[in-house]
């Protein structure tokens, strides 16, 4: 790609301004989905175009960017997006969570606690938490406006009645600032508590569905549940085979075709840092 013919961070300044306006509105109304005129990006829809537009709109020359997919910095699409911003914005990149000022992510929140001033950018495939229950976005928009979330509570109740528990394992709906039910993007439910009163800014970009939403710092983010069936984040009951961590989210690795399994940290930075500090399994 000939970078000289593109503006800083690829998008033209008017578009960036337009996205920033949507972001400001989203931060002012936590959890509310703000429509925006999503642009075509040189990556396919569903591959992070929403997150990329948000990143392009907020990134500055002094930012340090980290990109993860499934918690890992070296998964193919994370590499591709990181290379893209190195090219079109020339910013410094890192794999270390605490070094990054801007973290674009797909499906995970890093294990290392976020600090004030950091911005998380989520790639969102489906911003509408009610879509499985009501496919019409005109109707779900009305339900959000009226805070009419009965269908969601009935769904969760029916889960418990049929299966004895809520059968949502990822993209687990949350109530933001006591008002809007929000899709936290397909992060495992294990990561949901990290959003609650987080000191970082959390920006969500859904490119194909043309929505932006946000969770400002120190905002209540409560996973939906019932008093007698409280929210339970799950992870594999195991320790990382590399660093021995028992508190991080684990990926299951098949060792052979007889079902032998090992578990390793999904957050590669977290795992590497623990090992450099001398932790082993």
């Amino acid at each position: 790609m000939n970078t000289t013919s593109y503006t800083f961070a690829y998008l033209d300044e008017q578009t960036k301004r337009e996205i920033r306006r949507a972001l400001l509105k989203a931060l002012a109304i936590p959890g509310h989905q703000v429509p925006f005129a999503s642009r075509e990006m040189p990556l396919a829809r569903g591959w992070g175009t929403g997150g990329m537009q948000v990143t392009a709109a907020v990134i500055g020359r002094n930012d340090v960017l980290k990109v993860i997919d499934q918690g890992a910095d070296d998964t193919t699409n994370a590499v591709s997006i990181r290379q893209f911003f190195s090219r079109v914005a020339g910013v410094r990149t890192t794999t270390r969570t605490e070094e990054a000022t801007l973290i674009q992510t797909r499906h995970r929140i890093p294990e290392t606690p976020l600090r004030p001033g950091q911005i998380m950018v989520y790639q969102v495939p489906q911003p509408e938490p009610l879509w499985r229950l009501e496919p019409s976005r005109a109707e779900t928009r009305r339900l959000h406006a009226l805070a009419e979330y009965g269908i969601m509570h009935v769904k969760l109740y029916e889960d418990i009645a049929q299966h004895g528990r809520i059968t949502l394992a990822y993209d687990y709906p949350v109530l933001v600032h006591g008002r809007y039910v929000m899709a936290p993007s397909p992060i495992p439910a294990f990561d949901n508590p990290k959003l609650h009163r987080s000191p970082a800014i959390h920006l969500f970009g859904a490119g194909r569905e043309k929505r932006i939403y946000a969770v400002p710092p120190y905002t209540d983010v409560i996973s939906l549940a019932f008093e007698d069936h409280p929210f339970r984040p799950w992870k594999a009951e195991a320790a990382c085979a590399l660093c021995g961590s028992t508190e991080s989210y684990l990926d299951e690795i098949l060792i052979d075709d007889r079902g032998t399994r090992r578990y390793i940290c999904s957050d590669t930075d977290w795992c590497e840092r623990r090992r450099t500090r001398g932790k082993t399994a």
């Binding site: 829809r45 299966h163 528990r165 043309k210």
Partner: protein, 364 residues
């Protein structure tokens, strides 16, 4: 084990190099020139320009070459280029009544002012493979008409409009919205719907239009007119204050007229489905016109019962750049979510087994 499940920058670079090599194919054969694609695969160029919403034959041909002839991928490439272009103005509406006609047919009149002009079409060819193309034989020169076409080629719908039998489509004077600069919201205006259909996937438009012909939202269509040719594009520069021509584009326009038995507020009359697309693309223009008419169901007080009448369904799924991206994103790793599903299924199975055991013991 750790390396086996990860991508890595070196592997990605190698994959890109393999793609370039596979695009080149057998290096003993000459490369296709972009100009050859533009000239000899012109209908592919037209489709890519239409679905990319960018009229540039050379860049569309380049995209086709880069995409190895995958036209959806080519449209995606061209759109990703289009999105970076600055906007310096909007043209005046093109006037298809003043088109320089290459082809114009009407299925609702035997003859009409200006006549039936067949032009270049596959409609009357037999679909037999022409083996002379393997040996690159030059075709004979095309005959030219003895007299030029009538300069006056009114649209076939003009007479119906004059008689008041066809709904008029008055200009309400509002600036049309721009689908590429504003998010698609529902209910959508007809202008937005037409924009979305004009860049929609040709296969989708065709299938949706076809479904209305098979009873899923029937609209009783007649092809009042299909015309294809070049029209002038005019802009009004602020410093001049009057319109100037900046070039010609080729377009295909299709007007369907449809039976309408009338409603409480409207007398019985014909309604119109409209299709307008870049280049020569009659299948695309006709599909668009059928779907445009089906989507007017709500405004005309018809029951919305079929997929083609449901604007949220049609407009949300017509764009193949979005559809292809999202379908193919399933190739991206999903193992974190899958892991949480795995844990969930295992614990549900364990609980179900425990319940069954308890029940069995209780029965004993």
């Amino acid at each position: 084990m750790y390396v086996a499940v990860k991508g890595g920058e070196a592997a990605i670079e190698a994959s890109r190099a393999l793609l370039a090599a596979s695009r080149r194919g057998d290096r003993t054969l000459p490369q296709i020139e972009v100009a050859q694609i533009e000239q000899q695969l012109g209908l592919a160029v037209d489709r890519v320009m239409g679905e990319a919403s960018l009229y540039d034959r050379e860049l569309a041909a380049l995209a086709i070459k880069q995409a190895q002839g995958d036209l959806q991928e080519a449209a995606f490439l061209l759109r990703a280029f289009r999105t970076t272009l600055p906007r310096f103005g909007a043209s005046l509406p093109i006037d298809t009544a003043r088109m320089t006609i290459a082809r114009r047919i009407s299925a609702i009149y035997k003859d009409l002012p200006g006549g039936q002009v067949l032009g270049p079409t596959v409609d009357y060819t037999h679909r037999l493979l022409d083996f002379s193309l393997i040996t690159n034989e030059e075709p004979p020169c095309a005959p030219s008409a003895e007299a030029p076409l009538d300069a006056d080629m009114p649209r076939a719908t003009a007479a119906l409009e004059a008689e008041g039998l066809l709904t008029s489509e008055p200009d309400d004077g509002r600036t049309p919205p721009d689908l590429t600069r504003e998010p698609l919201m529902f209910p959508a205006s007809r202008a937005v719907r037409l924009q979305a259909l004009a860049r929609g996937d040709e296969g989708f438009l065709l299938a949706m239009g076809y479904s209305t012909q098979r009873g899923y939202g029937s609209t009783h269509p007649f092809a009042a007119e299909i015309r294809y040719g070049t029209v002038a594009v005019e802009i009004v520069p602020e410093e001049l204050g009057f319109p100037i021509e900046i070039g010609d584009i080729t377009v295909t326009e299709c007007q369907m007229v449809n039976q309408f038995k009338g409603s409480k507020t409207e007398p019985p009359q014909f309604t119109r489905g409209y299709g307008l697309v870049f280049g020569h693309a009659e299948r695309r223009a006709m599909g668009m016109a059928l779907v445009d008419r089906a989507l007017q169901a709500r405004e005309l007080g018809e029951d919305v019962v079929a997929p083609a009448q449901d604007e949220e369904f049609v407009l949300s799924h017509a764009d193949h750049v979005e559809a292809s991206g999202f379908v193919q994103h399933l190739k991206l790793p999903h193992y974190v979510d899958f892991q949480s599903e795995l844990e969930l299924i295992r614990s549900l199975r364990a609980e179900a087994a425990a319940r069954a055991e308890t029940a069995l013991k209780a029965a004993e």
